[in-house]
Amino acid sequence: MRVIKLKNKRELIDNLKEFLKSAFDFKENSRQRIRKEAYDEMDNFMLLCFGDLLGIPVPTAYYTLELLPYLAEDLEGWERRIMARESIYGDRWGDFCC
């Protein structure tokens, strides 16, 4: 057996650490899920405010107009995302596999 150089050994351990961290780090994983959940929740909020733009009548449409300046930056992205939601199954499946 050849002797592994000290420097390489260090590197190997570091890589192993990184591997284990991403494979078993629930903290990072769960944070990512929460972030996804937060985005979904924000999208739903936008839907309740501006469903009108997609043709869904919203009784408070007149009053949510005054929110438009504060939410305008997200509006375009939201419209794109919500239009791309083709199937709720696909959407939910995406939550777990990726």
Partner: protein, 311 residues
């Protein structure tokens, strides 16, 4: 009757006549009276034969009138948003938002919200300045919807606030910058706008359901459809805690009628009068006869006599 008096009823039964005559009656007693029309198809201007529009117009001593213009009010609201927007939004998307705002201003539903907002603003702002505020409303369907708005929209506002809070809390969890996020939630302009709107809705509901402040009077004719509609409206308003104590029966035929046609009409009318008295036995009935002239300023004095003895 109370300080705020709403006149409602089916289309064409004489709401504007009754409310104008009652307003006349109040001014004769020396009360400073404001008569407000919420019907987009205004007819106050036709009775008083002069331009009124969306500003307080003096008709005669102590009598003032105002016709709410939904288009003008929603335009004002939209322009206000546009003005505030310039401080918040980058100039690049200003154009895009302006386009959306203009489209929304003409969408159905905007009008009724605009009328509702203006009416509440008038009630809140001018309550102190007038002894009496009389509201000539649009036909029943419109008015029921108008009065149910705070109930309906209040619930929706609660949902919006809840959702926004939840989303922001999730962000907070995801970012770990706890302290910073907490202050962001507190300072969130969206939440503060929503809360402000909710407060206004609650205030409106408080006013409209205050039985010591508001009277709701229904006008009807002694005919089948107006009676049926009044029955339904009384039930519906009861659900929103608005109780009707007075009814005005308008356009009653004279007791003596000549000719077979009018005799038959009178017989029919008697039947409906009896029905009204039976069904609404717990309400005060004010009876106004049919007159042989157009309703104008001059004969309002005559019609207002039928309100005699009413406060």
């Amino acid at each position: 009757m109370n300080k705020l008096v709403f006149f409602g009823g089916k289309g064409g039964v004489g709401k504007t006549t009754a409310s104008s005559a009652y307003a006349y009656h109040c001014t004769e007693k020396g009360e400073k009276t404001l008569l407000v029309s919420t019907d987009p198809a205004h007819s106050l201007c036709d009775i008083f034969e002069r331009k009124i529009g969306s500003r307080i117009t003096e008709i005669k001593e102590n009598l003032y009138a105002f016709e709410i213009d939904p288009e003008e009010e929603s335009k004002k609201y939209i322009n206000n948003i546009k003005k505030n927007m310039k401080d918040v939004v980058s100039p690049i998307i200003v154009k895009e938002i302006e386009r959306q705002l203009d489209a929304a201003a003409v969408s159905p539903g905007s009008d009724e919200s605009a009328v509702f907002d203006k009416l509440m603003e008038i009630i809140i702002d001018y309550q102190k300045d007038y002894d009496r505020i009389i509201i000539d409303t649009a036909p029943t369907g419109h008015t029921l919807r108008l009065l149910s708005l705070p109930e309906l929209l209040g619930g929706w506002m609660d949902k919006l606030i809840e959702k926004r809070k939840k989303a922001m809390e999730l962000y907070e969890m995801a970012t770990r910058e706890d302290k910073k996020m907490e202050s962001i939630i507190k300072k969130d302009p969206v939440l503060s706008k929503l809360n402000e709107r909710k407060r206004k809705m609650e205030k409106a509901r408080e006013i409209l359901t205050d039985g010591d402040l508001v009277s709701f009077v229904f006008v009807l004719n002694p005919e089948k459809l107006p009676i049926d509609e009044t029955k339904k409206a009384v039930t519906t308003l009861g659900k929103y805690n608005i109780h009707i104590k007075e009814l005005i029966i308008n356009r009653i035929l004279p007791i003596k009628t000549e000719g077979k046609f009018w005799e038959n009409r009178k017989k029919l009318e008697d039947k409906y009068m009896k029905e009204i008295e039976d069904v609404f036995s717990n309400k005060r009935l004010i009876k106004i006869p049919l007159i042989d002239e157009d309703v104008k300023m001059e004969n309002l004095k005559h019609i207002s006599k039928y309100f005699e003895g009413m406060n």
